[in-house]
Amino acid sequence: MMNNNIELKAINKTYQKSKNSTDNQVVVHDNFNLKINSGEFVALMGPSGMGKSTLLHLIGGLDKPTSGQVIIGGEQINNLNESQLTRWRADNIGFVFQSHHLLPVLTAQANVELPLALTHLNKSQRKHHAATALSLVSMADRAKHFPKELSGGQEQRVAIARAIVSDPKILLCDEPTGNLDRKTADEILSLLAKLNKEYGKTIVMVTHDLKAAEYASKVINLETYTYDLKAHNVQEARL
């Protein structure tokens, strides 16, 4: 990747509610444009159903637009096929969801190691990488614990460690603090801010939490968002 710019051009995303009727379409995004620069920490806000998650899925290659281009780091990913996308995700994107989706049968360490199974790293290298990622999220002392032995905040930290272990340039977070209390949420958000500032990760975070948005370097509110094609500037939302 030459840069980590995220560009959405003339995106149209339409869902078909039922297969046999044509009028039952849900247009989530119509001619939507967005540019996020490398190294930004963007908070994506807006009312429920506005298509925030949908955007995140498009950027992360989990879903494809009905039309338009998704260009990440100069590569147009909406043309990749299923297996190319899978490979691409492993190399470039880290995901953090509201639910951690850790594998209950694996320890924190093994969970973090999981994405490295797709790399050429050997066993000791994988161990080392996972341990580093865990210490980065201050969970080194819990490496041997199983998810059910951890608190919600700790689980989310492990999930973040898993998202960053293969060193992706972009982190996509969908309401990462949605299940957490204020104090724990603040810890997680500081952690994300640290990953952004100190490790240069580009972060796109969907959130409903105004306080969470304060950690971001930029806020985009989909409800009021318009895109100035000429200036390529994203209008700051009024909070």
Partner: protein
Amino acid sequence: MSLFEMIIKNSFRKRIRFALTALSVAVAFFLLTLLAGIDHALNSNIGGNSQFRLMTSHKVSMTQSLPINYQKKIAKVEGVKAVTYASWFGGYFKNEKNQLAMSAVEHTSYFSLFDEYLISQPDLDSWKKNRIGIVIGQGVATEFGWKLGDKIPLSSSIWMNKQGSFSWEFVVAAIYQTKGASVDDKRIFFQHRYFDKSRAYGRNNASWFSTQITPEANLDLITNQVDAQFNNSSFATRTTSEQVFIKEQAQQFADMAMVIKVVLIAVFFTLLLIVCNTMVQAIRERLNEIAMMKALGFSSFNLIKQVYLESFFLLSSGAFIGCLLANITLSQVQKLMSNFLSGITIDPSYYFYVFCLVLFAAFICSFFPALTIKRLMISNTLGAKQ
């Protein structure tokens, strides 16, 4: 975390469910293995050369003899490879209580047709040269303690010799071993030409003819042609195939095996449903994790492979337990039925068959989970909402 560890850990998530499912697999393979053991016994009793051997005897009664020259006449029928003959001696040792399964056989051809009796070439040659020689089974040798070269007087309850005595003189010339546990090791054979020269009456007759036919020959056609030849003579014949002969005895077992087979098909069908259901459930419980792994960059193929291996592990654990228990059971059954039905063992190739069966069943059982994984939309499954 190796793939293997991952499979084991996933398998044991729901231990009780795993154990119960594996147990039902074990029951199915237990039955299958039992059947294979009994089937093996049946097949080893009717298999081999006997499949292609015909037996021709007097149409009316086994006790009546046929002229020896029938050998040449039968040999002329197309599809016949070799013909030999034998006569029942009705022998006993010292006391009529010590009945012996003893027959006079045409010495040049008999053992090439009946290759289930294993005789070393030098022993066979020396027996052929020794007019009063007998070939005895290892079972006979052990029972009476007879060795090669021993002179043994044996009596017949049917045949008087020219000296007017029912006691005949013999020398042990060869001891045969058996091919497979199902072959009788207590028989005694001696030369038909000695029998013919020495008996006081009934010369140039034999009790029955054994005919070997070529594998591709039509059994029924030959049977009919042989009998048709002698139909109008004073010695009409009745020809049956040995297979039919022995199969009649084993029919009851075969019927039983058939019933087990039908039951077994039902059992395996149910088994597939059970394991399929287990796997579908197991995957459904993990949809979120699977979607997460997909998001992390695990390909559908990779995840499907894991499900396949998990099914395979479940099925093979059950199959292993089932086969093990069946083996223990079969060895007990063999002890109990050694006189009745011998050769109850499991052929090593059976385990290869089981292996293939497990591979295939694992394929079937991971089919629906595989479809689910393939179609799983990450974006739908991993929404923020839970």
